[in-house]
Structures are given as structure tokens and as C-alpha cells.
């Protein structure tokens, strides 16, 4: 039992379960709204973000290109600067140190990023001593063409075919170590200078500052060749033949870039420069914009780099190419820092919440309505139950009524049967009474006849007594017996008649009631004439009724009216009729002796007679009348005042129930 109980749900549990499932279904719109609301919000958010993102990428690319253009322009600025410096040397055969200093002074002030500006003449092994002496005489007594030894110390240059030493350098105080340094010492330097000489164009060289601060600073050297005035410098050999020297601009790469990006509008960039110096790549990192410009402190972690924003390019500086990598800093772009996206996200979530709340509310309202509906339904069920029980009660009541009706019918039958049996059985003794009375009479006759022959022999007194007994007493007694029997027979017949009336079927036909009354009055005419009774028979409404019954009814009523008149005044009888809604009222009024109040109830009762018993009868007349009227579905009543008169009114319905209506044929037969 326990196991079964465990498996099976009790009705309440089942109800609860159904309710849970039902309530999930009920809140389904809310869940849907929340789900789709968040879905749409995130879709909008992502769309906007990705749109914004690609827009940013594009913007970044454009910005980057602008950066590069600026860089390019910056580089051109320095190349043109070098070129203009060469103009100084083309202007005269000889340029003095002071002339050179004066010429570059303004330039150096405007461009502090320039490390130095130099004049580097072409010196062959033949002219080396001459040049060294000339400089020693003019300015520096300890001047030599120098080069770096293996320990990176400046020493007098060894014997070379060609020297490219620095003769003028400005600003001199910061760069005096460079004076006399032979750029042609290194293979790279010689090659660069030779390329420049051979092409007549600016060539650049990237290398550390080996002389002043060795191995520390990245320097770029721009070399521009100067040829002898008036020399043909079209071909390479002509250029080699007529080379006079180079003007050079030395720049610190980091300072150069710092200078170039100083006034940039774009911000929060990282810039990586990849500098290849003598086959070794070196990385310089710069943050554009922001506060910090220090080297490598803001270096991005490799993982943090957003590859979408990684931009590669290169900066061409004469023959040297500096690869550049540009990328935004962490501050540059943040998805969640974007206001519009956040606004969209916020609005979306709020809207979702609101809609969910609204739907939940509407669901609640719905459930309130459902609850009300449930309550109403409950009430209806109650009313229904009540009505059902009411119907049951009604049915019971109907059954009761039916039973009562049946019982009543049965009782009625019994009463009728009783009346019949009584009347039948009552006759038995009467037969004996009359029979034996008759026997007695014949016995007396026999006695008389027998005695008459011997009567003379008897004593006078005895004869008189005998005579009296036989001729007076006995016949008188027998008369009383026989009268009583007759009276009893009358009563019994009346009773029998009454029970027969109930059984008798009435036959409806169209009756001219005026004629019916007329013929009844005719049978009473001798009494009416004798007593000088005035009868007012008005024109009466016709009706459908049983002819014999109506004759009996009118006979009885009129008989009573005639018989119970007040002998002290002239009798007056008025017969009238009146049509009511569905019945006709017939009224027979007389000015007779009337019926006393206390006698009114006897009027229609069988065997009861009201008032003075001076008229023969069994007291059954009005009982018959009532019975007959009732059989027609009508009513009869009596209004009377003692010593003033009596008024009988009976009604016959004009609407006959179909079941009883057989008058159609009768009507035809009459017409």
C-alpha cells in the first residue's frame, strides 16, 4: 500500500503538479519576451559594436596613412635641408669654417633634433697631408684624420686610398670628437658615400654613434655629394672624377620621430621602428600622444596587441628603409568604453525588463481574471447544483403530487364504489322489508278471510279489537314500513344517481340556452301560472354543453326558485347571462325566501336541505347540479339573503379541451 501510495499522486499533488505546469505555460510570454528582448538587444549591441569596430579600423588605417605621409614629409624636410646646405659650397670654391657656421646656425636652432651638420671633403692619399696641415694651420693644431682602432679609440687614420673626414661640424662644441673622423673607414660608410657620389643623390646610413657615445644612439646620416664647380656631372665616371665632398646631416632617429609626431592629432598609438644597423635589427618603440614618451616602458604585451589594428609600413629615408609597426594603445579602443554601444545595451536591457514586467503584469491580470472567472464558474456550479437539487425537489414534489392525485383518484373511486355498493346493498334489506310486509298483508288478508266466517261467534269486544287490529293497526304499521322503505329507496336511488353522474360521460353540443330554459319553464308552467310568478328570461349566450345535463341543471335550479318563493310577495325570477373572458355566466335570481347564512354550506351538500322542510325532496338536487357543472369544467355558487332572495350563478367554459371536444360532429348534425 505504501509503495502504491508512493508511486501514485494524490489528487492534491496531481493538482499542484498541473498547476505548476500550467503556471509555467502561463508565464511563457514573459520568458519569451525576456529571451527575445535580450537576444535582440545583444544583436543590436554586437551589430553596433562590429559596425563601430570596422569603422574604427578604417579610421585607424586612414590615420596611420596620415602618420606615414607626415613622416615622409618630415624626411623630405631634412633631405631638402641637406640639399640647401650643398648650395653653400656651390656658391664658392672655398667655404670657410665661419661661413659654414653662420649658414647652419639658424637651421640648427629651428631643428634641435639635428645632431650635427657636417662638411666632409673628398681626400685622396695624395692630398691627406696637405689637408691635415691646412686645418692645423687654420684652427686646430692637433688635427688629424682619425679612425677608430680595435679598442674604439680615435687614432690617426692609417694609409688609405680615399678619406672622407669631417672638416666642418656644427654645433661644434657638442661634436668636436667628430672632427677629422673618416667616414670611409667602415665598409658601410665608404659604400654609402660612394653610392651617393656615383648617383648624385642623397644616401643615408644608419649606425650607432661610434665616436661620441659608442653603441648607444641610433643615428641616421644623410649624405649629399658636392661636385667641383663647372665640372660635368652627368655620368658616373664624371661624378667620380669631379667629386668635391659631401654635406651631411646627422639625426638621432628617436629624436627625429619624436619631432615628427610631436604635433600629431591622433593619439594613443604605439609605434615600433625596426632599425637594421649593420645587419642587426633593433626595435624602437614609441607611444604617440598621451603623456609618456619614454622608451619601452609602455611596451605592449604580445597578447594584448589587437591584430586588426596592427599596421605595417616602412619609412624610406634615401636608400634606407625603416620598417614601422603601428598599433593603438590599450586606451585607444575599448568596446565597453563606447558610449553609444552602452546606451544601446542599457536601453535594450531596460526595455526587455519593462516588457517582461508588463507581460508578467498582464499575465497576472489574466490570472486575476481567470481567478474571477473560476470564482464565477464556481458560483455557477453552486447555482447549478442548487438548481439540480431544486429540480430533484420539484420532481419529488411532482411525484408526491402525482401520488396524491393517484391516491385522490383512488379514494374518489373508492367513494364512488362505496356509494354504489352501499346503494346496492342497502336495497337488499328493503327487498325483505317490502317483501315480508307484503307477506304480512297477505297473511292478514288470509286471517281476515278466515276470521270473517267465524266473526259472528266472537265476543263483541274481541270482535271490535280484532277488527281494529286487522283493519287499522296492522295496515297502519305496514303503511309506515312501506313508506319508510319508499323513502329509503328514494335516498338510495339519489345516491346511486349521484355516483352515476360522476361516471356518466357528457356529450357536448351547441346549445341554445334560451331554448333550454324555455322548455324547462314550460314543464313548470302550471306552478308558475298558479302562483302568478313573473319570469324574465333574457336573451342568453349559447354554449357547448350536454343537453340532458343542462336540462337537469336548469330544472333543479328553477324548481328550487319556484318552490322556495316567499308566499307573501309576488314571485319574480330573472334569468340572464354574461360572457366573461373564457366562460359564460348564467344567473338565475329570485326574490324568494332566501337562505340563511348558516345554511349556505348545506346548499350543495348531498342529502342536506336548507330552510323550512315544506317541499318534498331528498336534498340531492343541488348536489347533482354541482356535479354536472363540474363535469363541464364550470363552477356554481350561490348568493343569498334571507327573506330577500337567492341568486344561483353557474359558469360553462367556452374553451373546451380538445380531448373532451367531440362537438364537431354534433355541431354538424345539429346544423
Amino acid at each position: 500500500m505504501d509503495q502504491i501510495g508512493g508511486i501514485m499522486l494524490s489528487p492534491n499533488e496531481l493538482k499542484a503538479k498541473i498547476k505548476r505546469v500550467f503556471s509555467f505555460k502561463k508565464y511563457y510570454p514573459v520568458y519569451c519576451t525576456a529571451f527575445f528582448g535580450l537576444l535582440i538587444t545583444s544583436a543590436f549591441f554586437l551589430f553596433f559594436v562590429s559596425f563601430h569596430y570596422s569603422h574604427e579600423v578604417e579610421q585607424y588605417r586612414i590615420n596611420t596613412e596620415n602618420v606615414l605621409i607626415k613622416f615622409k614629409n618630415g624626411i623630405e624636410h631634412y633631405t631638402s635641408l641637406v640639399k640647401s646646405l650643398s648650395g653653400l659650397f656651390y656658391a664658392s670654391e672655398y667655404v670657410s669654417r665661419d661661413e659654414f657656421r653662420e649658414f647652419v646656425q639658424g637651421t640648427l636652432i629651428r631643428n634641435p633634433e639635428i645632431v650635427s651638420l657636417m662638411f666632409i671633403p673628398y681626400v685622396s692619399s695624395d692630398t691627406r697631408n696637405e689637408i691635415e696641415m691646412q686645418v692645423q694651420e687654420e684652427v686646430f693644431y692637433n688635427f688629424f684624420i682619425t679612425e677608430l682602432n680595435s679598442a674604439d679609440h680615435l687614432v690617426r687614420a692609417s694609409e688609405k686610398k680615399v678619406y672622407y673626414p669631417v672638416i666642418y661640424v656644427e654645433p661644434f662644441n657638442l661634436n668636436k670628437e667628430l672632427l677629422g673622423f673618416n667616414f670611409a673607414q667602415s665598409e658601410v660608410g665608404l659604400q654609402t658615400l660612394n653610392y651617393s657620389r656615383d648617383s648624385g643623390k642623397i644616401h643615408s646610413m644608419i649606425r650607432d654613434d661610434q665616436v661620441r657615445d659608442p653603441g648607444n644612439n641610433n643615428r641616421i646620416y644623410l649624405f649629399y655629394p658636392i661636385y667641383n664647380n663647372g665640372a660635368a656631372i652627368v655620368t658616373k665616371s664624371e661624378r667620380i672624377k669631379s667629386i668635391r665632398g659631401f654635406v651631411s646631416c646627422e639625426l638621432d632617429i628617436e629624436d627625429l620621430f619624436d619631432a615628427m609626431i610631436r604635433d600629431f592629432e591622433i593619439k594613443d598609438y604605439y609605434m615600433n621602428l625596426y632599425i637594421i644597423k649593420e645587419g642587426i635589427e633593433e626595435n624602437i618603440s614609441r607611444k604617440i600622444g598621451g603623456e609618456s614618451t619614454s622608451n619601452s616602458t609602455d611596451q605592449l604585451n604580445e597578447n594584448e596587441i589587437n591584430r586588426d589594428f596592427l599596421f605595417y609600413s616602412s619609412l624610406q629615408i634615401a636608400n634606407n628603409e625603416i620598417p614601422i609597426e603601428l598599433m593603438p594603445t590599450g586606451d585607444y579602443y575599448s568596446i565597453f568604453g563606447d558610449l553609444t554601444a552602452n546606451i544601446i545595451l542599457t536601453i535594450g536591457i531596460l526595455l526587455t525588463c519593462f516588457l517582461s514586467w508588463y507581460f508578467a503584469g498582464s499575465v497576472n491580470r489574466t490570472s486575476i481574471i481567470e481567478k474571477i472567472v473560476d470564482e464565477r464558474t464556481e458560483e455557477l456550479y453552486k447555482v447549478n447544483d442548487y438548481l439540480k437539487s431544486e429540480i430533484v425537489h420539484r420532481k419529488e414534489a411532482e411525484k408526491k403530487i402525482e401520488r396524491y392525485a393517484r391516491e385522490l383518484k383512488q379514494r374518489n373511486e373508492e367513494v364512488k364504489r362505496f356509494a354504489y355498493i352501499v346503494s346496492h346493498d342497502l336495497r337488499g334489506p328493503l327487498v325483505n322489508m317490502t317483501g315480508f310486509a307484503g307477506e304480512l298483508r297477505s297473511a292478514i288478508t288470509t286471517i281476515e278471510n278466515s276470521i270473517n266466517t267465524k266473526i259472528g261467534d266472537l265476543d263483541e269486544n274481541i270482535r271490535q279489537d280484532l277488527n281494529y287490529a286487522l283493519n287499522e293497526d296492522a295496515p297502519e304499521a305496514l303503511d309506515f314500513i312501506e313508506n319508510s322503505v319508499k323513502r329509503m329507496e328514494g335516498l338510495i336511488n339519489a345516491l346511486l344517481e349521484l355516483s352515476r353522474i360522476d361516471r356518466k360521460e357528457i356529450k357536448l353540443e351547441n346549445l341554445n340556452m334560451t331554448e333550454v330554459f324555455k322548455s324547462t319553464l314550460k314543464t313548470l308552467s302550471h306552478v308558475i301560472d298558479e302562483r302568478k310568478i313573473s319570469v324574465d328570461l333574457q336573451q342568453l349566450d349559447d354554449v357547448q354543453a350536454d343537453r340532458l345535463a343542462m336540462e337537469q341543471v336548469t330544472g333543479n335550479i328553477l324548481n328550487n326558485a319556484v318552490n322556495y318563493l316567499d308566499p307573501e310577495r309576488t314571485g319574480e325570477i330573472t334569468i340572464s347571462s354574461k360572457e366573461d373572458s373564457d366562460e359564460i355566466h348564467y344567473t338565475i335570481a329570485d326574490n324568494g325566501r332566501g337562505i340563511a347564512e348558516e345554511d349556505m354550506e348545506k346548499v350543495f351538500a348531498p342529502f342536506r336541505r336548507a330552510g323550512k322542510q315544506d317541499v318534498k325532496g331528498e336534498g340531492m338536487g343541488m348536489a347533482f347540479v354541482q356535479s354536472l357543472i363540474r363535469k363541464h369544467g364550470g363552477r356554481i355558487w350561490c348568493d343569498s339573503k334571507i327573506n330577500q332572495g337567492t341568486m344561483f350563478t353557474f359558469t360553462i367554459p367556452t374553451i373546451v379541451e380538445k380531448g373532451e371536444n367531440e362537438n364537431g360532429r354534433s355541431k354538424d348534425s345539429i346544423s
Binding site: Y420, H424, G428, V431, T434, G435, F436, E439, L496
Partner: protein, 150 residues
């Protein structure tokens, strides 16, 4: 005629006596067998051992009242007319009521004559005497009907 035995079934001894008297008065001398209730009549009429059968040569005529104790007149009449042995016995209903329904019912059941007992003694004795006259001229047939010459 001598062979006809009258069976009088009447519960009221007064009636019975009056009927006898009047029969005698009208010179009917047949044997009268009287029964005061229906059962006795049934026992007599349907007893195999009594002399009441066709072979004995004794004919019967039944004067029957309707209201009888134990078994009423209708039942006796019905049974008599439904059995082969008794259906040819003439039955005269002699009763107090003259209700038309009763009368027709009795004729339907097969009674031969229906006489009501009038309360007037002259009429009553007249009726009985007429009956006596009737019986004196009647021949009880082998089958069914009573033939009267008048």
C-alpha cells in the same frame, strides 16, 4: 319438467324465503337446492361425485344472486359458462341492482335472464311468479339457449 332441479344461490335468507314462497305461489314444485354463499354453489356444481351430471338425466336451472360471500355471482357465472359440463345450464340472475352496466356485464358473461328485485312487493312477487311461469314452460335444452313458448 319434473327433472329440473332449481339451484338457488342467495345469501340473504329473507330473499331466499321470499323467492321460494313466490315460486310456490306460482305453482312451481321443482326441487330447490339452496346455497347461502358462492363457494357452496361451486362445490355443488363442480363436484364430480354428486348426481349432477348429464347422464343422471336431472336437469338444473340456477337462480343466482350477484353479491355473495366468498365467491361472487360473476365468478360463478363465468366459471359455469366457461366449462363444457355446466355451460348449458340456464342461469337466471336475480339481484337487487338494475345498473345497466351490471346487466350488460352479466349478459356478456352468458347469463340467460336478468331479473332485478323490485322493492315494490307486488312487483317483486309478480316478477317471481312470472319467472315461475317462465320456468314451468321452459325446457332446458341440451345446448345453449332457453326456448320459451311465450
Amino acid at each position: 319438467m319434473e327433472e329440473v332441479k332449481i339451484v338457488l344461490v342467495e345469501d340473504d335468507p329473507g330473499h331466499s324465503r321470499l323467492i321460494e314462497k313466490n315460486l310456490v305461489r306460482s305453482k312451481i314444485t321443482n326441487d330447490v337446492v339452496k346455497f347461502s354463499d358462492g363457494q357452496q354453489a361451486i362445490d355443488y356444481l363442480f363436484n364430480e361425485n354428486n348426481s349432477f351430471n348429464a347422464e343422471s338425466g336431472i336437469k338444473h336451472l340456477v337462480l343466482l344472486d350477484l353479491n355473495l360471500p366468498v365467491v361472487d355471482g360473476y365468478q360463478i357465472l363465468k366459471r359455469m359458462k366457461s366449462e363444457e359440463k355446466t355451460k348449458n345450464i340456464p342461469v337466471i340472475i336475480l339481484t337487487t341492482t338494475n345498473d345497466p352496466r351490471e346487466v350488460s356485464k352479466c349478459y356478456d358473461l352468458g347469463c340467460n335472464v336478468y331479473i332485478s328485485k323490485p322493492l315494490n312487493y307486488e312487483q317483486f312477487s309478480e316478477a317471481i311468479q312470472k319467472l315461475g311461469l317462465f320456468l314451468s314452460i321452459v325446457t332446458v335444452p341440451e345446448e345453449g339457449k332457453i326456448y320459451a313458448d311465450y
